[in-house]
């Protein structure tokens, strides 16, 4: 061992002390992070139980109406057929809503299980959007909301515009956007859907003139189970999953979503999706290239 001078010894000690305090700092940071995570978990657990009570209402209520209404139809007098039409309309709207909510819940479960993968095909975007609009047309009519659809893509003459993407995910994203727009619109208003495309991106805006979202709330609406009006007295239905699903699906497709909203003036949600490539980077679809390059390392 070499002998250290006092000065060297002091320096060494000082260094070590400093190093130690660095570690202590790090530990402090880590434990802070841990506390934060624990807090989040607790919050989320509370939200989850709220969600479950919420969801059972979402499912049980429509079913009760459907059962009740269909029973009434069965016992209706023949000359009263006009009554039947309105009851069937109610059944349809309850069932439609139920179907929509269930789809969302199942997709959420799939996302959380890590089983959602892109499923790419050439998609006729105009058709897909029109289908979704049609499916909501009864809801819109009931609230006297006009859905305006502007398809601003010029694509050859008389040709359809195709875009490589995942049509099922696209449909669910659009349904959620449109559902929200209608849900938070006032009666006798308008929802505008604008579609544009450039080289690589498809952009869809859904604009409503409804209640709007304050700036503070714009940040939290994407959180799962979060609803701005989650009180017992809330007028609006829903489970607060819609936007978090939309975001997760967009994640899978490499897209993004933005809000532009002013309280009291309505909101515009803009979704932007890149055109999917057939080839996942580094792998051709055939998969032959992956067979053993000589420079593979083996672990």
């Amino acid at each position: 061992m070499t002998n250290l001078s006092d000065r060297q010894l002091l320096k060494e000690l000082k260094d070590r002390l400093q190093e130690r305090s660095k570690y202590e700092q790090e530990i402090k940071l880590l434990s802070q992070e841990l506390q934060e995570v624990t807090k989040r978990f607790k919050e989320s657990e509370a939200l989850k139980s709220h969600f479950i009570s919420n969801i059972s209402n979402e499912i049980v209520n429509p079913f009760t109406s459907i059962l009740g209404l269909s029973k009434s139809i069965l016992s209706v007098e023949k000359n009263d057929w006009k009554k039947v039409v309105s009851m069937v309309a109610l059944i349809h709207s309850e069932a439609f809503n139920l179907d929509f909510q269930l789809k969302n819940i199942f997709v959420a479960a799939k996302i959380e299980a890590g089983e959602v993968v892109p499923n790419i095909a050439k998609v006729n975007i105009r058709n897909v959007i029109q289908t979704i609009i049609d499916s909501f047309s009864l809801v819109a009519r009931k609230m006297a909301i006009e859905i305006e659809f502007n398809f601003n893509i010029e694509y050859g003459f008389g040709k359809n515009f195709y875009f490589k993407t995942d049509s099922e995910k696209m449909k669910l994203i659009l349904s959620n956007m449109l559902n929200n727009a209608l849900k938070y619109s006032y009666k006798d208003s308008k929802v505008i859907i604008n579609v544009t495309a450039d080289e690589d991106f498809l952009t869809i805006d859904v604009q409503d003139f409804g209640t709007g979202i304050s700036e503070k709330n714009q940040k939290i609406i994407f959180e799962r189970f979060k609803r701005l009006d989650s009180g017992i007295n809330s007028i609006n239905r829903g489970h607060g999953l819609g936007l978090s699903i939309t975001k997760a699906l967009l994640d899978v497709m490499g897209g993004s979503i933005e809000i532009n909203s002013k309280k009291g003036e309505g909101s515009t949600f803009t979704v932007k999706v890149p055109e999917a490539k057939n080839v996942v980077d580094g792998f051709s679809g055939e998969g032959n290239d992956i067979f053993f390059d000589d420079d593979d390392e083996i672990f």
Binding site: R40, E112, E115, V116, D293, D296
Partner: protein, 156 residues
């Protein structure tokens, strides 16, 4: 070699199987953990993008802490015993090197893997992590073997 079924593992998803599968995936700052049970010959792999779940989004395997829990759960469901599992860790490169503000996602992803696996007493038998390059890996679920290759800069 053709008896292998193939699966491409997308980010934020996970995969496990008793059948002999060849799972391919590409990693940048993402991390993939390959779990293998040499007794039951079951292999599973995840591919997460961020270290910890923020508590707001869906609790999906996009997040390391969730992806690791869920992968182990899935392996156990398929019939693995926790104490037989062994792990290999890949990825966590620092691709966005020019931009330091990327907050070292890769490094934090690796750390979550190490911490959680240690906590669960799952030995890490091999790893290739960090660095400045992306990786392409092939994982064979029946043998636990991983073929690994660096690729040039790509953002994944």
């Amino acid at each position: 070699m053709n008896q292998y079924l193939q699966h491409f593992l997308y980010p934020s998803t996970l995969f496990a199987s008793k059948e002999p599968y060849m799972v391919k995936t590409i990693l940048g700052s993402c991390v993939a953990i390959c779990l293998w049970d040499p007794v039951a010959k079951i292999g599973g792999i995840n591919h997460y993008m961020l270290p910890n779940w923020n508590g707001n989004d869906l609790a999906s395997p996009k997040y390391g802490n969730i992806a690791i829990e869920k992968l182990i759960e899935r392996m156990v469901q398929l019939g693995s015993r926790r104490e037989n599992l062994q792990a290999k860790i890949f990825g966590g490169g620092d691709l966005i090197a020019a931009d330091r503000s990327a907050m070292l996602i890769g490094e934090r992803n690796i750390r979550v893997a190490r911490i959680m696996l240690e906590e669960k007493n799952i030995p890490v038998v091999a790893s290739s992590t960090g660095g400045r390059k992306g990786r392409k890996i092939l994982f064979f679920t029946d043998s636990g073997e991983v073929r690994h290759k660096f690729i040039d800069k790509r953002t994944y």
